[in-house]
Amino acid sequence: MAASLKSYEKKYKALEDIVRQLDDGELSMSELLNQYKKGLTLVKECADMLDSVEGEIQQIIEEVRIGE
């Protein structure tokens, strides 16, 4: 999990950069399309990672409950 979290931070950072570039409004049209596509892919990948971490946490919580 530590490795995937590390790559999550990387992806998240890349996403932040893209948003900043879009915010600056100085991208060419082809760059705009590329960065937008790349951004959406990063959002999806990050969200998937969060889902999997959340699933693991909920499973642990459930296991602790079952032990009661």
């Binding site: 998240y12 996403l15 932040e16 893209i18 948003v19 879009l22 915010d23 409004g25 991208l27 049209m29 705009l32 937008y36 951004g39 959406l40 959002v43 990050c46 969200a47 969060l50 971490v53 959340e54 946490i57 909920q58 642990i60 919580i61 602790v64 409950r65 032990g67 009661e68």
Partner: protein, 407 residues
Amino acid sequence: MNILSITQLNNLIKRTIDREYLLKNVYVSGTIINAKRHSSGHVYFTLKDEESSIDVTMWSSTVQSKGLANSFQNGLLVTIKASVNFYNKMGRLNLIATDMQVGSKSPLQLEFDALQRELAALGYFDDAHKQPIPVLSSCIGIVTSPTGAVIHDILHISEHRNPLMQFKLFSVPVQGSTAGPIIAKGIEAADKDPDVDVIIVGRGGGSMEDLWCFNDRVVIEAIYNSSTPIISAVGHETDYTLADYAADIRGATPSHAAEIAVLPLATLQQNLQQKFDYIQYVMSQTLQQKRIELSTIFNRRLGFPALQLIHKQNSLLQSYKEKMQTLTSQRLQQEKHKLSLITQELSLQNPLHLMVKGYSKIEKEGNVVKSVQYLAKGDSFSISLSDGSIHAVVEEVLPNGSITEKL
């Protein structure tokens, strides 16, 4: 042969007794034992001397009129005035007492009382000194006579309750002036025996004189000094000896002593099971409570914050996604707008537009004429308008803004 019925015989006895004046209003001395006061107020007791005894009744009216309500103490030496009475229906004989003089207690009773006071003052009977009887013994030491009822009663009771119980007999005489020191030695031997968990010391019923060796000072001391718990079992339920006071617990009878010393195996098992169940219950309760505490701490301090962090991160991602969409579509709108501005400008630059407004284009030999210097008098040229063209000839060229055209 004259055969009598019971009724005829009993009536005959009663008549004979009633007729005998020597049996009326006699004075008789003895020691009171087994005194019982009935709820009706009548008092029943036995009067006895060294050899014999007789049952006595004093009616409640006599007890009241003579003020004797508190005089009926066991061991008290008294002289009563009484008549012999025969109940023919039951075939029983007793004395009906009409008066009673309270004499002194018997010498033996006085000796008993004095010894009891002395030993009590020395602490021999103190409750604080008494030891608990073990719940489960493996071996009981019995200090008694090998031929008496005690050993039989004890073995009989314990056989049913716990067949695994072992016994050691410390054989002693239980009657007579020399018995006391031997009983004391028997108690000491039983106390020293490493196998013996609890001691029963006693004998069957008898007179106060018979039981006297259990009032012997050396016996009381041996009981007091024993580090093994001792149950006394001397005589019947109504008999009390100093050994009973000194013992850790008194068995009213030898059978009762056995019941105290030998708990039924089933009861022991039940007690054990109850304790085991209780321990399990407490353990599982404690564990359950700890689990709840732990999971509460886990969920509140660890699980939920972790989920919250993820939810926060998720909504950040969501907001980034929305921001990207907004920024991108804004940018596209901007570009579209720029494009439409340029388009508009382009359309404004179209010459046709100018011609509609009245402007026209002059061409000479296919070239656009932008200055008067390209034309001279007599040149032919064409004028293009929005809805057609005109061919014309120059009549005059006037530089500096003034042109005269000849159509």
